[in-house]
Symmetry: C2
Subunit: 226 residues, 2 copies
Amino acid sequence: MSVTVIDVRERVMARNDEIARDVRQRLEAARTASFNFISSPGAGKTLLLERTLAALNEEMRVAVVTGDCQTQNDADRLARHTDRLVQAVVTHGGCHLDARQIETALASIDLHETDLLLIENVGNLVCPAAWDLGESAKVVLFSITEGEDKPLKYPKAFQVAKVAVLTKLDLLPHLDFDLAGAIRNARDVNPLLRFFFLSARSGAGMEDWLAFLRARVTERRRTVPA
Amino acid sequence: MSVTVIDVRERVMARNDEIARDVRQRLEAARTASFNFISSPGAGKTLLLERTLAALNEEMRVAVVTGDCQTQNDADRLARHTDRLVQAVVTHGGCHLDARQIETALASIDLHETDLLLIENVGNLVCPAAWDLGESAKVVLFSITEGEDKPLKYPKAFQVAKVAVLTKLDLLPHLDFDLAGAIRNARDVNPLLRFFFLSARSGAGMEDWLAFLRARVTERRRTVPA
């Protein structure tokens, strides 16, 4: 029976990857930069996206898709920071977003009027890592309250990401957290990972993060689509 | 194709539930109390289990099974607190433990010499909630750093649990965390949930938690197996 399961899973994954390729092509053709945010529940994805939206919303056109097991709380929180449509995908217990859900969400987004697409995945450091959504890059967040061993214990999310954001840095004085060890652990599983350290709450480190997003959007605009 | 997926998944779940029933019967026959700990990565499962083992190891016979995507770090940490075998199940990316893995682990545990079985699931607040392992009860942990909305956003884990443990309480002065709101949210999804509030780091709240486990073990010893 396990062979059947694997076959079905492989077919589902293969179909997902096809759709993700289409999504990626559409995003590239529209020169929209896009990021897929992956983390544990409560690592601070929504707060980071709130602060990011509030900071960038005046200077560029940002679209948002949020994934949640239940509720559209995240979408409601984010919608306060933009006049544009924030799309909520409620997975009803599903543990990750898939490319089909992004494809469906894109039907309501004019990509040619969108510079940056932010996708907030379901809070789960395991399953979302396996699913390509067609994004430009995956961003893995982890909170310093989670401990410095997370990259070793959940390596896949750190391997598939291009960017790691260490969040809740304002809590550092109150924790026994080994920052150097965390970076070393993350680089052990992915030496090319680019790091940001920030507290969305205090604002520390936000400028570097915003500069990175601005640069990616500028770069994407300059790209001649295939 | 999606129908096929559901069929296969249902068969896999049905088979899991059969094995879980066997596991449960064996645990009951041996009068072993058992708890399946579910939480996000980094909510403090391992530290709570370390402190629990250190406190109870002299007075009762405790067995431990840990599930991890990669590494056996948690098992190594826990093994320091007991002379008994601590079993590591490395799921190689798998997002939850299943009953078959517990059945396999039990082959190396003499249940008649075990009062309490602690199962540390993979760090994931979504998928493990769907899998019965044959345990007496599921315990959902959530850290106050994750925010008070977690029970609403990940209701399944809170619905299937009998006990909720709110961890990292020592950080309360440094966070904007609404404790009353968190309890209200959890009770909204499961009115029968029993709560513990603790900091494994400071030791605050540990006595209540240990008293609860002692009572469950005593209760189980008194039960006449079917």
